[in-house]
């Protein structure tokens, strides 16, 4: 920045560095550095390319992996569901036809697209990263502008390496002070959504800052940014610091030694300038954040574990009140019930929100030497990638879970969205480390409570929610 440039936010810096052309009418053509591809939102885009006799603009910008539909058991036997199998075969055929790099189902690097991008160094600071999946926001942890797109935009990104975008507004969420013991990135991100609401960030890109955010590991920052979309923001961002560079260094797709110093010099500029102005600023006291549990059918319906299920009658806004009534009916909950008394049927530890090695370690630390409650029908741990699984097994964490009666699965999206065989039956209640508690999300009629990995593990042992801070 020269002396006369106005101070810029991190978002504005990345935007300006990717602007191909201002198209007028509020739209711009933005260059896309990295495009991650999975089996569910890409087949129609590849069809579009074929139909119009178009080729991908820059093959090296793309990386594909199957994750949404993949089985988490008996993988060597193949996929039983013929429709799921056809979708994976379509990804194979499309990547082969167009020459796109893809990790096979049986590759040890296979996993959830938002886990493997950072793990491979395919996600780098200052990049624009897109994927046909709303949780692309995850990659904002690296100071990358990362956002989910629809299939038409997948086709547009493939064909042109650009997207036609309207510039977003900016929102700063500053989480001041350190969080207390037992409070994780998941609790911070849920508490933020509880505060700003699921539409609080609509039209904005959120930048997370403050001591509690600086303190987070890169994996914690990924959990945080992952759920920016649940706060309505298409993208979340965290400024680049030494942790970011240390995480990236040496990964397969990271800059080679001859470019490393130049990359670090550029990445070091990827923070909002002092005095940069944001359209909205939200201040949150980190010390007030407790372990969170969602109680309803929208991620904003979330409370500290010490609270009780709220009473819709106390809500003045009639639209909100009716939404709360519908949510309680669907969730089978009575107003006033302490959250810690809610009994669960299943536990799901996994998803692009919470399936990295630190998540698995946190859950294992709670489970170690204990047993799953008899009343809990199934507690499953689904690592985010084959490499996370290998690391956990090297540390003996799989044994910890298996000894406790938890299941240890193969990597994929699994019961976060229940496209594969892993799902809730109608009426079943789940402590889940995933990101959405929408009606039917984890299976038709299923009831989801969003929590951190440690809280999910603790619920699996106790049979109901407990405050992890009270465990010995």
């Amino acid at each position: 920045m020269s002396r006369n440039d106005p101070p810029k936010t991190l978002y504005e810096k990345i935007w300006d560095d990717h602007l191909v052309e201002d198209l007028g009418g509020g739209l711009s053509l933005l260059y896309i550095d990295r495009h991650l591809v999975h089996e569910v939102t890409s087949p129609q885009a590849f069809d579009g390319l074929r139909l119009n006799h178009r080729q991908p603009w820059r093959l090296a910008a793309n990386l594909a992996v199957p994750d949404h539909n993949v089985p988490t058991v008996d993988r060597a036997l193949g996929i039983k569901d013929p429709i799921s199998r056809a979708q994976l075969e379509a990804l194979d055929a499309n990547c082969a036809e167009f020459g796109i790099t893809k990790f096979e189902l049986m590759d040890r690097r296979q996993g959830i697209v938002h886990v493997i991008g950072p793990e491979q160094g395919a996600t780098l600071p200052g990049m624009t990263v897109v994927c046909g999946d709303s949780h692309t926001a995850t990659h904002g942890a690296f100071g990358a502008l990362a956002f989910g797109i629809g299939t038409s935009e997948v086709e547009h990104a493939l064909a042109t390496q650009t997207l036609v975008m309207a510039k977003a507004k900016t929102m700063l969420i500053r989480v001041n002070g350190p969080v207390g013991p037992g409070v994780t990135a998941k609790d911070i991100t849920l508490a933020i959504i509880g505060r700003i609401g699921t539409a609080g960030g609509t039209g904005h890109v959120i930048e997370y800052a403050g001591e509690a955010i600086e303190d987070l590991s890169m994996e914690g920052r990924m959990t945080l940014c992952n759920m920016a979309i649940e706060g309505g923001a298409r993208a979340g961002l965290v400024a680049v610091d030494d942790k970011t560079m240390a995480y990236v260094k040496g990964r397969p797709f990271a800059p080679k030694p001859e470019h490393w110093d130049a990359a670090v010099a550029y990445w070091s500029t990827l923070k909002s300038d002092p005095g940069a102005s944001f359209d909205k600023v939200v201040e949150i006291d980190a010390t007030s954040i407790q372990p969170q549990v969602s109680w309803g059918t929208s991620p904003e319906m979330v409370l500290p574990v010490s609270a009780a299920v709220p009473n819709p009658a106390a809500e003045a806004d009639p639209v909100k009140r009716s939404g709360m009534e519908k949510a309680l009916k669907y969730m089978g909950l009575e107003a006033g019930t302490p959250i810690a008394q809610i009994a669960i049927d299943k536990v799901f530890i996994g998803s692009c929100t919470n399936s990295r090695i630190e998540d698995i370690r946190a859950a294992a630390a709670v489970v170690k030497g204990k047993k799953k409650a008899d009343s809990v029908k199934l507690a499953m741990v689904v690592p985010g990638s084959g490499l996370v699984k290998e690391q956990a097994e090297a540390e003996g964490l799989d044994k910890v879970f298996l000894d406790a009666g938890f299941e240890w699965r193969e990597p994929g999206c699994s019961m976060c969205l229940a496209m594969n065989a892993d799902r809730l039956e109608p009426g079943e209640r789940c402590a889940s480390t995933s990101n959405r508690n929408f009606e039917g999300r984890q299976g038709a009629g299923g009831r989801t409570h969003l929590v951190s990995p440690a809280m999910a593990a603790a619920a699996g042992v106790a049979g109901h929610f407990v405050d992890v801070r009270t465990l010995s």
């Binding site: 119009n52 429709i83 797109i149 042109t160 990359a263």
Partner: protein
């Protein structure tokens, strides 16, 4: 993409906030590798009383008579109205494909989630943002007379009510132009191929590691 200029129709009222894309089209239908045929599964969990998937003929399923789209009064509506934050959640464009395939040309709400909003413009389905009190007035109008005809005039950026009143709405000039003309966005962008190549050449100087492989 099909163009959108003027649509006159009755309105179907979906009186819920935060209608998410999982509700608009549940996950089991995302296994389809086609772009069409999602209409019968729009709002599937609310519309039917029994579970469905791609292999079950929707004609054989039990209809939920209480769900608003199943009520005879609202058949044939091409405009849907709902409350705040419509289309939140998953980026699945299948949600817009399902609305389009069912026959909706436009959705009116006080606010939309960003990705859904953007997806609508790629498919000729118009998302219209009105003030909450204006949306409330539409709900009341439909409750009084479900057959009342409303006109969405995109070039004029107006909704004409049966009583003769109009509500104005905002829309980015660029998006409006593309929609009214029904432009192929990729084809339009590819006309800028030289500008994209020039950007890449510039950027490869500044950040060579991005173009190293």
């Amino acid at each position: 993409m099909k163009a959108f200029t003027v649509v006159t129709s009755k309105i179907a009222p979906l009186d819920r906030p935060n209608v998410d894309t999982d509700a608009i089209i549940p996950k089991q239908y995302l296994k389809s590798i086609r772009r069409t045929g999602f209409g019968p599964f729009l709002f599937d969990d609310w519309r039917y009383q029994d579970p469905g998937d791609l292999q079950i003929d929707p004609a054989t399923r039990r209809i939920n008579p209480d769900f608003v789209l199943n009520q005879p009064a609202h058949q044939g509506a091409q405009i849907l109205i709902a409350r705040d934050n419509f289309g939140c959640g998953s980026s699945r464009e299948h949600a817009v494909w399902a609305l389009d395939d069912y026959g909706f040309r436009a959705v009116i709400a006080p606010s939309f989630a960003d990705i859904f909003f953007s997806n609508c413009f790629k498919n000729g389905v118009l998302p219209v943002v009105l003030k909450p009190e204006e949306v409330q007035a539409l709900f009341e109008g439909v409750a009084k007379n479900p057959d009342a005809q409303f006109t969405i005039d995109l070039p004029a950026q107006q909704i004409k009510l049966p009583c003769g009143n109009t509500f104005s709405f905002e829309i980015d000039a660029g998006r409006k132009h593309n929609m009214v003309e029904g432009l192929d966005e990729i084809g339009t962008t590819l006309q800028k191929a030289d500008a994209i190549r020039a950007y890449e050449a510039r950027r490869a100087q500044q950040a060579p590691w991005l173009f190293a492989s």
